[in-house]
Amino acid sequence: MKSIADIKAIRDKMQSQIVLRDNQDAEQEIRIVVGMATCGISAGARPVFNALVDEVAARNLHNVKVTRSGCLGMCKLEPIVEVHIPGEDPVTYVLVNPEKAKNIVANHIVNGNICKDYLITNN
């Protein structure tokens, strides 16, 4: 038999998984899009994706959704991660690895500071 506290604990634990299915505030949410075409995957997009999902879940960021997209055309710069915050211009990060992915969540999503080192440069 469970106690009232047990039920609340189950609820909190499950909500972090269920949040994936919430499409209610699609216009309000922050989207992190990972290029997951063949080029992205072979360059290591999958561990990047998983790192993003883990970090977002660990920080309990309910309004952030990590999704996939196809090839952006700059295959040599994969893995590519785009951050879409409502009301702001999208930011594109290139040559991302799992460690950079965690920094993106911490610095950009949580603290609002764009990680300038990971952006595309002209040269």
């Binding site: 009232i4 047990d6 189950i10 994936l20 299915r21 998983n50 959704k65 996939r68």
Partner: protein, 594 residues
């Protein structure tokens, strides 16, 4: 860490379209690609768009795929799940405009809906209590047991303005109050899941998609009126619903959410399932309780009402599945939230089962006061094949039709009654210009004649006589006197029958007489069926366009067509059985039906 959820509908509609095999294929392929830790495959209840099943939703994108076959699964897994490219070919397309729509919430079908009773259907896995808890499941029960007195719970339900969703529209809070006020130590809580209207399936959908919502609400009802035992009366021909109810009951008992000393609060409440054999009359409350007691399902006169003397002679409340499905939300979000939706006397939302001549066959939940036009044109996607709307039957065999002149009426309990129909359990059957209204009335009456339990004479014999009048009319043998006698008989049956079944059985006849009397007169006076539906009044004839090819004569199963090759053939009306084969066979459009 799971990063993607694939939801596969397991409601009866999609199940019958092989969705179980689709789900297995997803599971197999996800495993083959080594993604079983990243991607969860979840079976859910009904999404509502039964016309395009089996449906699959892939999150986090929320991509809504329809009509998925086993052989489509590999493409979704390889393209969408692995590479993140939506499979445009399989995305659901609104039939009115053929652009692919990505998310479910972007479709016209969903935009105008407000899902309260159906909120979890198609969202959670109904066989997993933890998912229900994640969506605030059992929080309402906890709130009631720890923060509210039974009277406060009843007051909240009263204040919300919730009315019974099974058909009568009796205020739910009042019903609970009567049962709470009745003296006695033993009381019962019952759930009417004996959904009998042809064309209505919202109760089945709720039980299949969100069974815990009903269990939780029944426990709350038990707390409110002081009952410790409940029964769910569900028809045995809903095997998936029964199966999921059983799983839900076992899980709730394991978690201590049902049974003795619930959550250590000292409140005891247990539930049992009772299977009905599917008699329509068992949806009537006194017949239902008689059936639970183990007797033949027949109604008895009221009063005494069940709230005073119900199951096993004890005070009992009986609510419909959809009514219960609203309760937890009312407790959590407050009566004001619920009462803010709907019209003055009908609060909240109502689920309708759309069927008949409509594009989006399925389940929709709309705020009370939405117009019939919005339901049929915007949500339902209109009438297929460019036909015109003629009428909609609400309330099933107990209700009546709403003609095109009332297309803009806001739907609520009182408006429907004022135009001669009723809410009923929420079946909505749409008819177009090809439907003969006399034939429709006959169809519903055939159903009630079959389902009459036979206990009282007005229903048993009266409805049979009424059906005979209709048969006379549709075969062209009736007189205007018959029409008048038939109408009088309708009022007699309504006034004298014992239970709701008999009292409402003549409604389809009366409402079609009210709005489509000219069609009855055409049958009686002109001996014609304006829609060419009633076989007894249809005549097939061969026109001068006949080339004398003899194709029709060779197809005719009764040899009613004769003639010489290369000259006009004739149909012998005394032999013709009006099967219509000749009309289908003729290549020169030389056969007409009139």
């Amino acid at each position: 860490m799971v990063r993607s959820h694939i939801l596969v509908c397991g409601g009866t509609g999609c199940h019958s379209n092989n969705s179980a095999a689709v789900k297995r294929e997803f599971e197999t392929l996800i495993k083959e690609r080594g993604l079983e830790n990243d991607v969860a495959v979840v079976g859910t209840g009904c999404f509502g768009l039964c016309a395009v099943g089996p449906v699959v939703i892939v999150y986090p994108e929320g991509a809504f795929y329809s009509g998925i076959k086993v052989e489509d699964v590999a493409e979704i897994v390889d393209e969408h799940v692995v590479k993140g490219r939506l499979v445009q070919r399989l995305l659901y397309k609104e039939k009115s405009d053929q652009h692919a729509v990505k998310a479910l919430s972007d479709t016209n079908f969903y935009k105008k809906q407000t899902r309260v009773a159906l909120r979890n259907c198609g969202v959670i896995n109904p066989e997993e209590i933890d998912e229900y808890i994640a969506f605030d499941g059992y929080q309402a029960l906890i709130k009631c047991l720890t923060e509210l007195t039974p009277q406060e719970v009843i007051d909240i339900v009263k204040k919300s303005g919730l009315r019974g969703r099974g058909g009568g529209g009796f205020p739910t809070g009042m019903k609970w109050q009567f049962a709470a006020n009745s003296p006695g130590d033993i009381k019962y809580v019952c759930c009417n899941a004996d959904e009998g209207d042809p064309g209505a399936f919202m109760d089945r959908s709720i039980l299949e998609g969100d069974p815990h919502a009903v269990l939780e609400a029944m426990a709350i009802a038990g707390y409110a009126i002081g009952a410790h035992q409940g029964y769910i009366y569900v028809r045995a021909e809903y095997p998936i619903a029964v199966q999921r109810l059983k799983i839900a009951l076992a899980q709730a008992k394991e978690y201590g959410l049902l049974g003795k000393n619930i959550l250590d609060t000292g409140f005891d409440f247990d539930l049992e399932i009772r299977l009905g054999a599917g008699a329509f009359v068992c949806g009537e409350e006194t017949a239902l309780m008689t059936s639970i007691e183990g007797n033949r399902g027949e109604p008895r006169p009221r009063p005494p009402f069940p709230a005073v003397k119900g199951l096993f002679g004890k005070p009992t409340i009986l609510n419909n599945v959809e009514t219960y499905a609203n309760i937890c939300q009312i407790i959590l979000k407050g009566p004001g939230w619920f009462a803010s939706m709907g019209t003055e006397k009908s609060k909240g939302t109502k689920v309708f089962a759309l069927g008949g001549k409509i594009t989006n066959t399925g389940l929709v939940e709309i705020p009370m006061g939405t117009t019939l036009r919005e339901v049929i044109e915007d949500i339902g996607g209109g009438i297929p094949n460019g036909k015109h709307f003629k009428a909609a039957q609400t309330g099933g065999p107990s209700g009546g039709c709403i003609p095109a002149e009332h297309f803009d009426i806001p739907i609520d309990y009182d408006n429907l009654i004022s135009i001669g129909s009723m809410m009923g359990s929420g079946g909505m059957i749409v008819m177009d210009e090809d439907n003969c209204m006399v034939d429709i009335a006959k169809f519903f009456l055939e159903f009630t004649v079959d389902e009459s339990c036979g206990k009282c004479t007005p229903c048993r014999i009266g409805n049979r006589r009424l059906l005979e009048y209709l048969e006379k009319i549709t075969s062209g043998k009736a007189t205007m006197q018959d029409l008048e006698d038939m109408e009088n008989l309708c009022y007699y049956i309504k006034a004298n029958s014992l239970c709701g079944l008999g009292q409402t059985a003549p409604n389809p006849v009366l409402s079609t007489l009210r709005y489509f009397r000219d069609e009855y007169i055409a049958h009686v006076v002109d001996k014609k069926c304006p829609c060419h539906v009633c076989k007894g009044l249809v005549r097939y004839t061969i026109t001068d366009d006949c080339k004398g090819c003899s194709a029709c004569a060779r197809k005719c199963p009764v040899g009613a067509i004769s003639g010489e090759i290369k000259s006009k053939f004739v149909i012998d009306p005394s032999k013709c059985i009006k099967c219509g084969l000749c009309l289908e066979t003729c290549r020169f459009n030389a056969i007409v039906k009139e």
